[in-house]
């Protein structure tokens, strides 16, 4: 008899070798874990299994039963397998005790060749000009199961091309292999049942009803899961061959969720942002709003040079001059005459240096600007600041926005004579344009030109989320890491370096040369970060706080906090 296994595990023979899998494992996943990847089109582990592409056909068997209804045991002490004469799909069933699978038998290979041929007969064979080329499953599996010669002598079925399925998604129906992943995504994940098949048989066509298009905020995920070139991002399509893209693991900073991402760049230009699997954060999805929110990094409004106020206008200068100028201006004032408007979009390292700067200046009036918008029950958080939790933890704020009125009032009344604004526009934080333009000192660190930049006495151009390293804590208390995908443009610099230099100019202290050192210093004084480093955060982040997403304490998050061990293990 097979050795007694825990109830939660079952014995399965994969390609002749017995292995154990947790009960409830999908057969196709078990094969993959065993090292035998089964090709698939319609199956997606986060969606239901329709079993329609037939690519994952395998040979399957169940234990042979003796007359006494118990499994017959072979010489090896394992059950003898009764192989089914017909191939079975592996995507729709779970492993069972004594099950046998063959993933590479002649019958299985023949099935795959057959399905590949069927999928390709009506599929355009114009891979060189297809936008999916390089990340196309049809191409991928053609290498193994494709035929070099076609025996299809007929006309292909004509279908609509260049269909505007929604504001952000373009469909080429001729490339569609009708796997229904996108339909199921819309029904099951986005909860917006807008896609469907019309017509029948080989003439079936994917479409949306003209009165209700694919316009939901998750529409671009359909492009990610489309195994072929049918669904393409209207923003990205035909902009860049995907094999030229350098991929950098990062996360989205457009809201407190912090969906894990891959940033695709070439020669310093960002072309796209796609979600990266992290079951503790975003499964394999992200919202369109966050995904497309990177164009501003490449806008012509970027601040490229440090500038200082000279006479009645800002003039470009070098960093040394700008930083000395900024520090000199601040030195005229007592800490009680200075206010700092920081940002929940800054990294922990930047916020920590900000609090050090505030301490060096003796500033009490420090606050971040809350940014809120409509959230949903899927991924998008109402808190559009990606690092509110970091700002709270590092004492840059107690309640986001609470002190902004006091800052504005202080400036208006003249009690506050100097303002340091970090990645925020004071005009959007309650300060009036007249007051701002009359402020004796206004040091501004930002990335885009806006109405407040003209008022700055010292303007310090800094880096966007894709241009720097650092960490943030998402709404559920998970510490995550940004990696640099591109260099900041012009003379723009890493925010942490600017803050460090300001502190140095002011206090004369020295000694931080790398962002790792910033983190190390921070982790020594902030117990939450004890024992961590940027590299230890890893690609999937680390749970560091037990928090319910602010401000409503009822939202989920506790589940995450209950399993930090397993997550750490996963990293």
């Amino acid at each position: 008899m097979p050795e007694e296994t825990a109830k939660s595990m079952v014995n399965v023979q994969v390609d002749g070798v017995w292995k154990q899998f947790p009960r409830g494992t999908r057969l196709i996943e078990a094969c993959e874990q065993a090292g035998s990847y089964v090709p698939r089109y319609c199956y997606h582990k986060k969606l239901s299994s329709p079993g329609n592409c037939r690519m994952c056909l395998i040979e399957m068997g169940m234990p042979k039963m003796g007359p006494d209804r118990t499994p017959v045991v072979g010489d090896d002490g394992m059950p003898v397998i009764n192989w089914m004469p017909r191939p079975q799909i592996s995507c729709a069933q779970d492993v069972a005790e004594g099950m046998g699978v063959r993933t590479n038998s002649p019958m299985v290979e023949e099935c795959r060749r057959g399905v590949m041929e069927f999928l390709l007969i009506n599929h355009p064979l114009d891979c060189p000009i297809c936008d999916q080329a390089g990340e196309c499953r049809l191409q991928e599996f053609s290498v193994e199961y494709g035929s070099a010669e076609s025996r299809f002598l007929e006309n292909k079925v004509k279908k609509p091309k260049n269909v505007e399925l929604g504001a952000r998604v373009t469909l080429d129906d001729e490339r569609c292999i009708l796997c229904s992943r996108c339909i199921r995504f819309c029904q099951e994940i986005a909860k917006d049942d807008v896609l469907g098949f019309i017509d029948r048989g080989s003439h079936s066509v994917l479409t949306a009803h003209p009165g209700k298009r694919l316009d939901n905020n998750y529409s671009l995920n359909t492009v990610d899961i489309c195994p072929v070139g049918a669904l393409t991002s209207s923003d990205f399509r035909f902009k860049m061959r995907v094999w030229f893209l350098k991929e950098t693991k990062s996360f989205c900073t457009s809201c407190a969720t912090g969906c894990n991402t891959v940033i695709g760049t070439r020669e310093g230009v960002i072309y796209r942002q796609t979600p990266r699997e992290n079951d503790a954060v975003n499964s394999t999805w992200m919202c369109d709003y966050g995904r497309l929110n990177f164009d501003y990094l490449q806008s012509d409004k970027r601040l490229l040079d440090p500038k200082v106020h000279d006479g009645d206008k800002l003039v470009p200068t070098d960093w040394k001059t700008a930083l000395i100028d900024a520090a000199e201006r601040l030195k005229h004032f007592d800490g009680s005459e200075i206010a700092i408007i920081a940002s929940g979009r800054m990294t922990n390292e930047e916020l920590w240096l900000t609090s050090r700067l505030a301490a060096a200046l003796g500033v009490q009036l420090i606050e971040i600007v809350p940014h809120r918008g409509a959230g949903d029950d899927i991924l998008l958080s109402a808190d559009r600041n990606p690092n509110t939790n970091g700002a709270r933890l590092l004492r840059v704020t107690d309640e986001p926005g609470a002190k902004l009125a006091a800052i504005a009032e202080g400036i208006a009344s003249g009690r506050v004579k100097a303002l340091i604004a970090l990645k925020e526009n004071p005009l959007e934080a309650g300060v009036s344009p007249e007051d701002l333009s009359e402020l004796p000192a206004f040091v501004l660190m930002d990335i885009l030109e806006n109405p407040s930049t003209a008022c700055a006495s010292a303007l310090l151009p800094s880096a966007g989320f894709a241009e720097k390293r650092g960490s943030m804590i998402n709404g559920k208390g998970r510490l995550q890491r940004l990696n640099r995908a591109v260099q900041p443009p012009g003379q723009a610099r890493d925010d942490w370096e600017i803050l460090r230099d300001l502190i140095q100019e002011y206090s004369g202290q020295n000694g931080i040369y790398t962002i790792e050192e910033v983190f190390a210093q921070m982790s020594r004084s902030v117990p939450t970060f004890a024992g961590l480093s940027l590299s230890k955060i890893g690609d999937l982040g680390v749970q560091v706080m037990e928090v319910a997403e602010s401000p409503s304490p009822d939202e989920p998050g506790k589940d995450e906090a209950n399993k930090p061990e397993s997550e750490k293990a996963a990293n």
Partner: protein
């Protein structure tokens, strides 16, 4: 409209999509985009959910038809009887510019300029015994001679031929009343004849006893697969907590089959009684009759029959005072063959495209209609239940042969003198008796060439072949017997042994004038048209096979074609979600195998020149495999070029 919605559970309003579409089309003539949005809103659905249905089911149209809409059957038996010529003549008579070349999903509709007439080819109308047939509006026109096209346009009443009385070889159980003098379809006639006595008997029995009687009877399903009915019923747990549903599959659409039509039209109460007994046995309080859309008259007859039965307290609350509530509802299809597949039918009944479900896990008896245990039985099968209760299972089992019990209705169409339906004891009649005696033999001077014995999906049997049957000898041993096609007994096991199947009982006879490539092409067109398109092999393969036979018929056959046809069919069969894969592959596999010479004769052209030589990925990957490293042909002698750089 509210009544249509009320037929389904309150949280399953989506099921009312098809009934509402029918109502909309009956009222407005076609389904506009406004209609799609309106129905979606009414049922709490998205417009795409309705658009998916309108385009899946060919009976729904998005453009107005002519005042008189004519549907001409183009499938095999009708095509053999001249329905293409009929269509041409109808087009001429109606002044319609014919556009019947299948360019898209549906057989396209054509309309005359004045909007008086519109014409459409449709797939099998299940009246193959009176081919060719067409539907003028809702009225079936049978035995329509192509030259009488002008008259057909003017007809407003159904026309057919008198119902046939029993042939001496027949043993009529189900068809006992069909063609009987003075028989009518109303409940009074049925009750006078002792109707509903079996139901009254059944409700006095224990539920398990009824199921056991059915098991004892050995009844096998009459829909096509021949699955033992009692075994199927046994899958329902007696103490099931979820509601159990019974579905009567009245989506008769296997080309060559036309038996359920007559049960429904002539003896509806027999079916109602069979359903009620089955519902009682299975503790199913709701039964749906899924009737194909092309049977509008049948649906009306059944609606009337249900109301008559309700008036007698046979249907509805507290049936016959037993405390058992039982409702029967009619659900009309709209022209999709795949709805005959039980899980496709269930999806259709749930208001979706009839995409068959994967099994496992969606076995109807476990996760059927609304994810509840569900039994789907064919019309004829349910009628047999009534007789099993009447006779007792053991007595019923004496009919026919062991493992092939009872009677069954076989439908003969094609090239015979007297096509029609015959109810026989299973196996009591041979193929030869059926064709040459009961159906009157072949037409004058013609010879039998081939028989498709169980609906168009069944593998074709060649008349000149000999067949091997295993037979039990008097001493109990088994021995092979070589027989001709005429000696094959008409039962499940013998036809399976002959390499085909009894299927749905539709026997299509082909004589020696038939071109087998043309015949297969007709069937291929049927399957390409009816493939639901859900899973890859059938969706792509069925149309591919049709395109190959199309090309062969037009004179473009190449030598590779017979081989390609069979290989494509092989790549479909056994690899699809439902049995449609086999259904569309078997004709091709068997036609090419049995009539290879005809296919080769039409595939004489040389294959087109291959593309410039390319290497397979496998050859490129394999170390030292296939592709040799080729040295330069000769040394160009650069060393002699010197500083000039020229050789």
């Amino acid at each position: 409209m509210q009544r249509a919605i009320a037929r389904y559970p309150a949280d399953r309003k989506r099921s009312a999509s098809m009934p509402l579409l029918h109502l909309w089309q009956e009222h407005f003539g076609f389904i506009s985009d406004h209609g799609i949005c309106w129905i979606a809103e009414k049922l709490g659905l998205q417009p795409i959910n309705i658009l998916e249905l309108v385009t899946f089911y060919p009976m729904y149209r998005q453009q107005p038809a002519g005042k008189k809409h004519i549907r001409v059957c183009r499938t095999l038996s009708c095509a053999m009887a001249g329905s293409y010529e009929l269509m041409t003549n109808l087009s001429t008579a109606a002044g319609v510019k014919a556009n019947h070349h299948d360019t898209g999903m549906h057989n396209p509709e054509s309309k005359d300029d004045a909007g008086e007439f519109s014409l459409e080819f449709v797939e099998c109308l299940a009246s193959c015994g009176t081919a060719p047939v067409c539907l003028v509006g809702d009225n079936l026109q049978e035995l329509v001679l192509p030259r009488s096209a002008g008259h057909v346009l003017q007809r407003n009443q159904p026309t057919g031929r008198p119902l046939a009385a029993a042939h001496p070889y027949e043993r009529r159980l189900i068809f006992k009343n069909i063609g009987r003098q003075g028989w009518t379809a109303d409940i009074d006639c049925y009750l006078r004849d002792g109707g509903y006595e079996e139901l009254k008997k059944a409700v006095t029995m224990a539920r398990t006893d009824i199921v056991n009687e059915v098991k004892t009877s050995g009844l096998r399903g009459r829909g096509g697969a021949g699955f033992p009915c009692g075994l199927k019923w046994g899958f329902i747990k007696p103490d099931e907590k979820k509601p159990v549903y019974l579905i009567c599959n009245a989506d008769e659409s296997e080309p060559g089959t036309f038996k359920d039509r007559y049960i429904i039209h002539e003896d509806p109460h027999q079916l109602i009684e069979g359903i009620l007994i089955s519902c009682f046995a299975l503790n199913a309080r709701t039964a749906y009759i899924y009737i194909r859309g092309e049977f509008p008259e049948g649906a009306r007859i059944l609606e009337r029959a249900i109301e008559e039965a309700r008036a007698q307290n046979l249907v509805g609350k507290n049936m016959l005072g037993t405390g058992f509530d039982c409702e029967i509802y009619i659900h009309r299809g709209a022209g999709a063959y795949i709805c005959g597949e039980e899980t496709g039918l269930i999806e259709s009944l749930e208001g979706k495209r009839a995409y068959p479900r994967i099994k496992p896990p969606y076995f109807p008896a476990v996760l059927g209609l609304y994810m509840s245990p569900t039994i789907v039985n064919n019309v004829e099968t349910l009628c047999h239940v009534k007789h099993i209760i009447g006779m007792g299972g053991a007595e019923y089992a004496k009919l026919g042969r062991p493992n092939n019990t009872g009677t069954r209705i076989v439908c003969v169409s094609g090239d015979v003198q007297r096509p029609g339906y015959f109810e026989i004891e299973v196996g009591a009649v041979t193929m030869g008796q059926l064709i040459h005696e009961m159906a009157g033999g072949l037409k004058d001077g013609r010879l039998l060439k081939a028989v498709i014995p169980g609906g168009s999906s069944a593998k074709v049997l060649r008349a000149s072949d000999t067949y091997t049957l295993k037979e039990t000898q008097p001493d109990g041993s088994m021995a092979d017997r070589q027989i001709s096609i005429n000696d094959i007994p008409m039962d499940f096991d013998s036809l399976a042994a002959a390499g085909s199947m009894a299927g749905s009982g539709g026997v299509i006879v082909l004589d020696d004038l038939r071109d087998m490539v043309w015949t297969l092409n007709n069937l291929n067109e049927f399957y390409a048209h009816e493939s639901c398109g859900q899973c890859t092999p059938c969706r792509e393969g069925s149309l591919w096979m049709k395109k190959i036979t199309d090309r062969m018929l037009l004179g473009g056959g190449v030598v590779e074609d017979p081989k390609t046809l069979v290989n494509v069919a092989d790549n479909i069969a056994g690899r699809t979600i439902c049995a449609f894969g086999e259904a569309c592959a078997w004709p091709t596999q068997s036609f090419v195998a049995k009539f290879r010479e005809e296919f080769e004769a039409r595939a004489a052209k040389p294959a087109p020149p291959p593309l410039p030589p390319e290497y397979t990925p496998g050859e490129l990957i394999a170390a030292n495999g296939g592709i040799e490293t080729v040295p330069l042909a000769r040394n160009p002698g650069w060393e002699r070029a010197g500083t000039a750089g020229v050789i």
